[in-house]
Symmetry: C2
Subunit: 234 residues, 2 copies
């Protein structure tokens, strides 16, 4: 079964990198610096080396672009339609999505790749099937974040409840009642209230919170039923 006659294929990874700037949920894309489709927008990607798993390759690719590691990252799907890379040689690709705090990212950016953030509802045309991949990443993010405490990864270490609420509102494109939002989030016991306030966005100021990382991993699996089911789509 396994023999010298089996076909071999190029194997790549693509990263769907979500970021939040305090207002919009955005996706990081790059301008391709090589043919085919030089100058077109594309997801960040790269080939898997011989001694790498797809996961390792995705981490490497992300680090090259953003300078960051230790990011939240998750395998999304393997895209393997033989025609997906157009006329060129077939490329099988595993897509990963990553969540990063845009502020942190800004200091590390590797400009060689000509990266740009686009709001997820105003993405430019992307090469190959990357638009489709981005679309399914958006769905997956909504689905997963409804059930697990994921979106914290898009915020700075310290954040306020109104900030967190805005983020959820951006992701789900709907409004939440602040009272119920606060109660629901605090009832998870994943958040720790800090002593200082953010006074930038209001006169009264909003207390900062941080994720209690011990409880975070324990609670990750139990963060269900946050968003009403009709907003989930997978």
């Amino acid at each position: 079964m396994q023999s010298q006659f089996d076909k071999r294929y190029i194997f790549a990874v693509d990263c769907i990198i979500f970021g939040y700037d305090g207002k919009d949920l955005k996706l990081l894309v790059i301008e391709r610096g090589f043919e085919p489709f030089k100058g077109k927008w594309s997801l960040v990607g790269g080939f898997v080396e011989e001694e790498e798993s797809a996961e390792t390759a995705a981490v490497r690719v992300l680090k090259q672009l953003t300078g960051l590691d230790g990011l939240y990252m998750e395998q999304l799907h393997c895209f393997s339609d033989p025609k997906r890379s157009g006329e060129g040689e077939r490329i099988i690709s595993v897509a990963f999505f990553a969540l990063i705090d845009i502020q942190k990212y800004k200091e590390q950016i590797n400009e060689d790749y000509h990266p740009a953030w686009f709001p997820i509802n105003q993405l430019p045309e992307l090469v190959y099937d990357h638009s489709k991949i981005a679309e399914s990443a958006k769905e997956k993010l909504r689905y997963k974040a409804a059930l697990h405490p994921l979106l914290f990864e898009l915020l700075p270490d310290k954040f306020t409840m109104p900030q967190l609420q805005s983020l959820y509102e951006a992701v789900y494109n709907m409004e939440f009642d602040k009272g119920n939002f606060n109660r629901k989030l605090l009832s998870t016991n994943l958040l720790e209230k800090l002593d200082d306030k953010d006074k930038m966005n209001s006169k009264k100021g909003a207390f900062y919170y941080t994720v209690n990382s011990k409880k975070y991993s324990a609670g990750f699996k139990k963060f269900l039923n946050f968003v009403p089911s009709q907003y989930i789509n997978e």
Copy 2:
């Protein structure tokens, strides 16, 4: 970036085939007929051909073994650790899980593969990383079935509520209250009550139900919160 120098790899699919016999949730494995590990238990798998996507290959492999198509099937994960296939050449594999009604399957079985059903809690040792793959398939099934009307796929077209309940109890390894179970399932409006009864399993007999397939696809995305969150694991 894409060039003649890029590495190429063998690309395969593995199928995690779940079945239910009325009592236990089971997994279909085959006895390997070739070296290495001839005679050992293995998931059903095969290589991806040049003109195939992983999905197409998985359908083909499944059809070869079971004679069935049109089964519920879903991509699980891409396993690509360079060491996963042991000493042999590296094999990248996309795992799929499939749900089939064991009774239907019986008529179609292709004995060439030496297939066997094992209860999911008493799996034999499997080759390579197949035990790990099976484990993650079990988790995924529990997770997904808690949120979507999936398990019907494991039953005959006509089934009774007690049968359905037994299936859920087998999958989640817990007991459900029959009153609440009935109400919850019926409230989805996905089921249609038939006029005849199954008198095999009780004196009174239990009415048969069938999935209303129109409502099924519409309701698939909204079948949330079926199982309490602590039983979900992903």
